[in-house]
Each structure stands twice: as C-alpha cells, then as structure tokens.
Symmetry: C2
Subunit: 180 residues, 2 copies
C-alpha cells in the first residue's frame, strides 16, 4: 500500500447515492496519473432462507443497466445506521421478513477500479413476517428458490449480478453442505 | 422492463474510464425519481490456469478503495476491440501469458444500482509465455494459487473483490470437479 500518493482532489458531483471526485496522483515510478473515484456509501446484501429453507431473491428493474435482474435483497446504509441495522431494514422492506438471526459472512468491493462501494454480506435465518413499506422508487417482487436448484440458476446465466453470484456461491460452500 | 421512463438526461462528466449522467424518470406509479448513472465501458476478467494447473491472480493497489487487492486479471475494452481481444490482451499485459484457448463462461453486472459496468468472464487455458508491456499506471504482481487451496482463499476473507469471488466459485463448480 501507499504506492500512489494523492497530490490534488476535485469533487465534481455530490449526489443522492454517489459522489464523483477526480484525483491527481504520483505513482511509485514518479509519473503522474488521474484517478476517477465514485464514492458510494457502504452497502449490505442479505442471503435469507425462509422457514421452508428456500432462498429469497428479489426481482427489480435496474435503470442503469436497462434490465430486470434477480438479486439477493440489498441496500445502502443510511446515516447513523450500522450495517447490521441496514441489513435487517432492507430485508423487511424488500421481502417483508424480519431476521431474528443475522450473521455477517463476507465483505467485498463491487468494482474497486473506480468505486469505493463495499458490500457486507449477511446470512439471515429465523425469519418472522413483519413487513415495512418499500421505498417509493422501488418496485420489487420476491421469488423463492429451492437450494436444490441453485446450481441450475448459477449455471444458466439467469443470475447476472455479481454480489448475488458471490452470495449464492458462498451459500453452496458453507451452508448447503455436501461439498467438502 | 420498461417500467421507468426517462424524461430528461444530463451528462455531468465525461472522463477517462467513466462518464456520469443524472436522469429524471417517471415511475410506473406516476411519481418522479432521479437516477444517477455511471457509464463504464464493458470489461473483461480472465480466470486463467497455467501449465501446472494453478490459477493466476494479480495483486495490485486499488486507489479507490485504498487497499491492495488480490484479483483475477481484468481490464476495460478499448475502442474497436472485441471482449475476446481485450481478454487476451489484458492477460498478456498483466501476467505475461497469451491464452491459446479462451472461452466465455459468464456475464454479470458489478453494481447495477448505479453503474452500467458489465464484466464478461473468460476461462483461459493453454497459456504460452508472450509478455506485453503493462500499462504505465499499473503495478501488478502475479500470484499462482493451487486449486486445492481455493476454498481456503475464499473462506479466509483474503479475496475481497466481487468478480474474483464470482469467478473462483464458477471454477469450483465447473472445472475443479468433484462437486456434482
């Protein structure tokens, strides 16, 4: 670490879910380079299994990519909220379930070449139906998939979201058993 | 699809690897909302196995997240280049190996809530040593990992990059065998 040294930083945009800054840096070689950085609040994603052992996915339109995607429930931390609180809130908003058992299992960056976004992945169990209202600008449908069909979902290309692929793979290796 | 209808679009930044636009949309409910979109060229990532069957990872500083990460080789398409050509070029630049066998295996979005970035994942085999010069602003070290230790890498939290987690999981299920 510490190879690239910032010499100046310009914030070009401060928005609702992202900020944009462009930094000038000096490389270890002494050469200069530009670094475009999208600042994004920490986010959470929740791999939740319902009382019947099925995994909850949400289907929603994603404007940026002009597609409807199947993803695990996820969302962005709000000011003053811990990632655990965000995970519980987002799961309730998007699926109606409150998790009585919530465990952090993995942390990863979604696109470290330009974005600060980090996702904290939680595993949620012992779900209790206690819905919260969805965000006004979200239109989300819940799907439940059987763990037995997970490999088919992953193999078929139906899952086109990186955090969901990472989470379902984690599940296959750690929860579903039979792989070790 | 087609639920959110664009009513206006403002390009706020056109940069080196990303553009930023902010669109006003009408939701299916008739309400209005803002959509912040980072435009990013299609990218590729390469899961390459060397002649000894080890998987090639690259270690590099990621300025945006202020960390040194272990990732599979990856990069952005250049104008006029197919994703297959990008995959072959990036692998040579970052590891020195030219793949004689390159197969597309998966496509996914890294952060569909705000970014258009899509990654096309290739599996590369039959590697021939034929290095290309690295980009002047990249400082990359190659690591080789044994497929037997993949689960440990994934379980230990040492891999903190979503595309790399997705790719290594794909490998475990499709290539390494013994899981079906």
């Amino acid at each position: 670490m510490g190879g690239e040294r910032k010499i100046s930083s310009n914030v070009l945009y401060k928005g609702r879910i992202i900020n944009l800054k462009v930094d000038n840096v000096v490389l270890p070689s002494g050469k200069k380079a530009l670094r475009e950085v999208v600042e994004h609040a920490p986010a959470v994603a929740v791999l939740a299994t319902d009382p019947d052992g099925r995994i909850l996915l949400v289907k929603q339109e994603r404007y940026a990519v002009a597609e409807t995607l199947l993803e695990i429930p996820a969302g962005i931390t709000e000011p003053g909220e811990t990632v655990r609180e965000t995970a519980a809130r987002e799961l309730r908003e998007e699926t109606g379930y409150e998790p009585l058992d919530l465990e952090e299992v993995l942390r990863f960056y979604t696109s470290p070449g330009f974005s600060t976004e980090m996702i904290v992945l939680f595993s949620a169990r012992r779900l209790k139906y206690a819905p919260l209202e969805q965000d006004y600008d979200e239109d989300i449908a819940v799907e439940r998939i059987d763990p037995e069909s997970l490999r088919d979902y992953l193999g078929s290309g139906m899952i086109r979201d990186a955090k969901t692929i990472a989470a379902l793979c984690w599940y296959l290796h750690h929860e579903h058993g039979g792989n070790e």
